[in-house]
Symmetry: C2
Subunit: 156 residues, 2 copies
DNA sequence: TTAAAATACTTAGCATGCTAACTAATTTGA
DNA sequence: TCAAATTAGTTAGCATGCTAAGTATTTTAA
C-alpha cells in the first residue's frame, strides 16, 4: 500500500478511500468467517434476519441492509440452496415470502455470532468508543449529504 | 432509507455501512460530473494521473488509487477510447506505458477540477475540519486493522 | 365493482472491484 | 552469459452492487 493517508487525499479520492476501507473490512471478515462458508453478503443477511426476527420479509431485510431487492434475492437464493434458510409464501399476502432459519441455519448463526464478536475486537483495535462514535455520526452525515446531492431524498 | 444509524448497527453491519456510504458518495459525484461524461473510476483515475504528473506509469496510478492493475486497465482503455489520454510505451523500458492527457483531456480535466471543488463543499456540509480529520485517521486505522486481519501486510 | 396504482419479488444484464493465469521485457545471480 | 526471477501490463471470468422491466398479488378509488 503506497497510497497516501486519507487526510492528504481528501480532495482527490474520498470515494476511492471509502471503497478501499470497505473492501479491506469485507475481506477481513470474509477471511474470518470463510471456515463457516460465508461470504460478506451472506453473513450480513443472516445477521440482519436474526436482528429483525424470523418471519421477516425480504423487503424488510433489504431495507435493513440498505441494498436493493435484486441484490438480496441472489443472496437469499444462495442461503436457501445451502439449507440455511427457507422462504415461505405468506398465507395472508401471497406476494410476501417470510424468512426462517433451518435447524442447520440456526447452528451456523450461533457460530457466526461467536466468530464476529471475536474479530470485532481486532477490527476496532486502537479506536476509542468516542472515535468510533464520531466516525459513525460522520458517515451518517456524509451519506445524507451524498443522497441529497444525488437527488435521492432521505426519508427520516 | 429506513436503515438504522451507524452507531446502532456497528456490531451488525460495519461492512455494509461502509459500502452504503461509499455507494452514496460515488453516486453523488457521478451525478455531478455526469454532464462531463465521467464515471467514478474514470474521473478518479484522471485526478490521480494529474496528481502524479503526466508521464506516470499505470502501475503508479493503480497504487495511488489503491486498486489492482486489471481494474485500472479497463478504465484507462475507456479513457483512451474517449480521447482523454494516450498511453505511450516507454522507450527505455518497453514494459511500461506512460500516460499523457490529450488536448481534449486537459480541457476536460480543468472542468472536472472545477466541478469537484464545487461539490466537495456540499458533500462535507455539516462536518467540521476536526470531525473530518478524526474520520480520516479512523478510516486509516480501520483499513490497517482489516488488512492485518486478512493477512495482507501493510507496507505503508 | 372493477380498472388503475402500488407492492413484493424475480430475471436479465451492466459496472467495477477482484484473482488467476498469461505475455513480454528487464533484472539478477550462479 | 544466460536461465530464472521479477516486473508491467493484459485477458478472462467471478462477486456483488445496481437499474430496468417483468409477474403476481393486493389495495385504492371512480
Amino acid at each position: 500500500m503506497s497510497t497516501l493517508p486519507f487526510h492528504e487525499t481528501l480532495d482527490l479520492s474520498l470515494c476511492g478511500q471509502l471503497g478501499r476501507v470497505h473492501r479491506a473490512c469485507r475481506e477481513a471478515v470474509s477471511v474470518a468467517v470463510a471456515p463457516l462458508g460465508f461470504t460478506q453478503p451472506r453473513w450480513t443477511a443472516m445477521m440482519h434476519i436474526h436482528h429483525l426476527g424470523e418471519g421477516c420479509t425480504q423487503h424488510q431485510v433489504a431495507n435493513s441492509l440498505g441494498i436493493e431487492m435484486p441484490s438480496l434475492t441472489r443472496t437469499l437464493k444462495q442461503l436457501e440452496q445451502s439449507d440455511i434458510i427457507v422462504r415461505n409464501v405468506d398465507s395472508q399476502d401471497k406476494r410476501c415470502r417470510r424468512i426462517y432459519f433451518t435447524e442447520q441455519g440456526l447452528a451456523d448463526l450461533a457460530r457466526l455470532k461467536q466468530r464476529i464478536s471475536e474479530i470485532k475486537e481486532l477490527l476496532y483495535h486502537g479506536l476509542s468508543d468516542e472515535q468510533l462514535n464520531i466516525i459513525a455520526h460522520g458517515l451518517v452525515q456524509l451519506e445524507e449529504n451524498a443522497l441529497k446531492l444525488a437527488h435521492k431524498e432521505v426519508s427520516l
